[in-house]
């Protein structure tokens, strides 16, 4: 093991509550909690004015704001369990109803996740899941095990396979190849998986990842790159984009899967360093997927063209799951990352 940056002369950070939040005035986490209790959750400006906290170097300002936010959320949660003294009866009943409703919802709603998959001669996606205990109390909120099913959709959005109900025990990690999930499945495939958990109390560590496993020219396993689920049904609050669509020595690929029942259509723009803007369109059917390289999207861009300040973005922010893959040709390595 080689921890790279561990200056030996640093003082021990101490128990969590006694750690400084504001180094300039030696204000600890516990002190901030006391201040918030005393002031009934005052804002940052009030804390600055009366306690001086965060007024010198101001590097702790965001962290204190975060503590204030958490404090207010905890207060609100406290009200939700009917514990608030002096809270009007109507409000207590209302908050209790919301609390029960949330709890009921949590037990009724199946948790769905979604992720892009690919299978061809030189690479294949596998699904990886870990159902780890929460390390502090060594318990698993979801009990001794969880169950789930996996649905597979092809490029056109057809539901081509459905797994049997699978189980994952407490503290168990497993990797599922497509052939494990769907024994009859053959041939190359571009598509999407839906992972449907049954009843979960907490998601914990169960957010699904896939691995892109890639092989050497001789077929030997070479490496794998994790990427995680991006399931969404609501529009995105920004633009699906890639800051590095043209990297020297690498070809960038777009992987997109449509998680909803509506087709996804969008103009896609590529602006190069010289300011020139190119435009094309993409269309992905409901539950369909797309896999193409940037030179395929914009044929006038040569395969080996690289530049530092290119930007690619989609105009439509309708729900979509987007990842970018880079193939570094020299070393035959694949990188993956969501947008």
């Amino acid at each position: 093991m080689t921890p790279d940056s561990s200056p030996a002369d640093l003082p021990d950070a101490g128990p969590p509550g006694r750690r400084n939040v504001c180094n300039c005035f030696q204000v600890t986490y516990d002190d901030v909690q006391k201040m918030l209790h005393e002031t009934n959750g005052a804002n940052m400006e009030t804390l600055k004015k009366y306690y001086q906290i965060g007024t010198r170097c101001s590097s702790c300002e965001y962290e204190i704001k975060d503590l204030i936010t958490v404090y207010h959320e905890e207060q609100r949660q406290g009200e939700l369990v009917l514990g608030g003294v002096g809270v009007p009866l109507g409000r207590r009943i209302g908050t209790a109803y919301r609390r029960i409703k949330l709890d009921v919802l949590r037990r009724l709603i199946a948790r769905r996740y979604g992720i892009f998959v690919l299978r061809r001669e030189d690479m294949e996606s596998s699904l990886v899941l870990s159902n780890m205990q929460f390390p502090e109390d060594c318990t698993n909120a979801n009990g001794p095990g969880i169950s789930f099913r996996v649905l597979l959709f092809d490029r056109a959005g057809q539901n081509v396979a459905r797994s049997r109900t699978l189980k994952l025990g407490n503290n168990e990690s497993r990797e599922f190849w497509l052939v494990d999930l769907f024994p009859g499945l053959k041939g190359n495939l571009t598509g999407m998986l839906f992972i449907d958990y049954g009843v979960l109390t907490q998601v914990g560590s169960l957010r699904p990842y896939c691995c892109l496993n890639f092989r050497r020219m001789n077929g030997e396993f070479q490496g794998r790159w994790h990427y995680h689920d991006k399931f969404r049904t609501e529009p995105y609050n920004g633009y699906y984009h890639c800051n590095h669509p043209l990297v020297i020595g690498q070809v960038c690929y777009l992987a997109a899967s449509n998680p909803i029942d509506q087709p996804y259509r969008s103009r896609v723009f590529l602006r190069t360093t010289d300011g020139r803007e190119r435009e094309t369109t993409i269309e992905i059917p409901p539950h369909g997927s797309l896999w193409c390289s940037v030179p395929e999207l914009f044929p006038e861009i040569p395969d080996d063209h690289g530049e530092s300040n290119a930007l690619l973005w989609f105009e439509n922010n309708q729900a979509l799951m987007v990842w970018f893959f880079w193939h570094k040709q020299n070393d035959d390595i694949w990188l993956v990352q969501h947008h």
Binding site: M1, R106, G223, W225, D331, I333
Partner: protein
């Protein structure tokens, strides 16, 4: 909405939801809506380089907004960056990139493995959440393949209501593969000004645990752990990875092919989700 792909269980569940007229609804937002900084790291030497790309359109659709971004690089002092880049006014779909070679030249350091922060904001476009972040992406590449990755900036604050944190903060990563041919790498950033200890726990497919640490990372620092020794432990793959830290940190888990020295994975971890 009825989805054609629903299993009978889901159809039943959705039917029940309609029957009792329940809809998922999150709690109202508490706190000030504001733009917040994000964290990442930079690597540079004669072999490796980092290209940092930022465009305001990343998490906003305020097409008439004006935007600014500030890049800060930290070395020994957690409160005084050794290099700061401040952009001019940017329009919504503008993009700027920073190259690690230029940054290394400006700070007069031949090698960089440093924590950095991005603060992007708009004076006239409203953020959508309590700690909204306009994210930059870092593209790492190397001549010999030893450091390859593409990573988004990491959120430092926010999302507390979804994260399960008790005495310590935890991040997890599912199903890593550790073998004689692939050794694990973990890169941990400390976005706060105080130093932090962190521990690494590996949980193999059979639930067998192996602990490493504590390791210390200084304020606004970054630390790399290479698992040279754990490849010989005989852990059963796949292996779950947990980073336990004294306060919230941001970690990435990767792997190096021991034959070629190529980095063949580097992806960010997730906290334990409390809902």
């Amino acid at each position: 909405m009825q989805q054609a792909t629903d299993t009978p269980l889901h159809q039943l569940q959705r039917g029940m939801m309609r029957l009792i007229r329940l809809r998922p609804r999150s709690l109202p937002v508490v706190g000030t809506l504001e733009w917040a900084p994000s964290a990442n790291f930079i690597v540079h030497d004669e072999n490796t380089s980092t290209m940092i790309g930022f465009s305001p359109l990343t998490t906003t659709r305020a097409i008439n907004g004006s935007f600014f971004w500030e890049f800060r690089l930290f070395d020994k002092s957690p409160t005084e960056p050794i290099y700061t880049y401040k952009s001019d006014l940017m329009r919504f779909s503008d993009q700027e990139t920073l190259d690690s070679a230029e940054i290394a030249r400006r700070v007069n350091l031949p090698k960089l493995f440093h924590y950095c922060e991005l603060m992007a904001y708009s004076p006239d476009a409203s953020p959508t959440g309590v700690s909204s972040v306009l994210v930059a992406f870092h593209h790492f590449t190397s001549r010999d393949g030893s450091f390859e990755a593409h990573l988004p900036a990491a959120y430092i604050w926010g999302a507390a209501r979804f994260t399960r944190t008790e005495r310590f903060h935890y991040e997890n990563f599912p199903a890593a593969r550790i073998s004689a041919t692939h050794r694990p790498v973990i890169i941990t950033m400390n976005p706060f000004v105080r130093p932090m200890n962190y521990w690494i726990q590996l949980v193999d497919a059979n639930g067998r645990k192996h602990d490493e640490g504590p390791f210390r990372v200084c304020g606004k620092g970054v630390s790399r752990w290479d698992g040279h020794e754990v490849t010989a432990l005989g852990l059963t793959n796949p292996v779950g990875v947990i980073v336990r830290s004294e306060h919230k940190c941001n970690s990435f888990v990767g792997a190096v092919d021991t034959h070629t020295g190529h980095m063949v994975n580097l992806e960010h971890m997730h906290p334990f989700f409390s809902r």
